[in-house]
Assembly symmetry: C2
């Protein structure tokens, strides 16, 4: 499983998922949407026919916010939706 | 109704939609997904809790491609999904 990329300015965890078809992409997006709604966290998501890019920012959105175990755990849960 | 923005390099039509809640955002995304599947066109879409940003590129993806009535019509259909 590929790792999530830790970015700076603004600090975030990012990962791009690639899929074989739009149907598979959309199934993943549906599961992701259900999960986000369940845990009430709404990452920035971009997608096209066969990819989904997810950006996780710290829940604490102050300028000194850091990526913590909370974001890493969220990222792991998203990986499990595959 | 706000207009779509015509961008250059790469040429595309873009529009940002804002919503009052995640539920309304997701309902719009669902209708958009169904419509894209029906017409087999897959724009680049990014979204968060209360916004959706859509980028329409020319169907013809050569470097000299231009936005034509095909993209404007697609954009109008998307506006109707609101």
């Amino acid at each position: 499983m590929d790792k999530w990329n830790l970015k700076k300015r603004p600090v975030c965890l990012e990962k791009r998922f690639e899929f074989e078809s739009y149907t598979i992409t959309r199934d993943f997006l549906d599961r992701l949407g259900d999960y986000c709604e369940k845990v009430k966290r709404y990452p920035d998501i971009s997608f096209g026919k066969t990819y989904v890019n997810i950006t996780l920012r710290p829940e604490d959105d102050s300028t000194e916010a850091k990526i913590t175990s909370s974001e890493h755990q969220f990222a792991e849960e998203i990986d499990r939706l595959l």
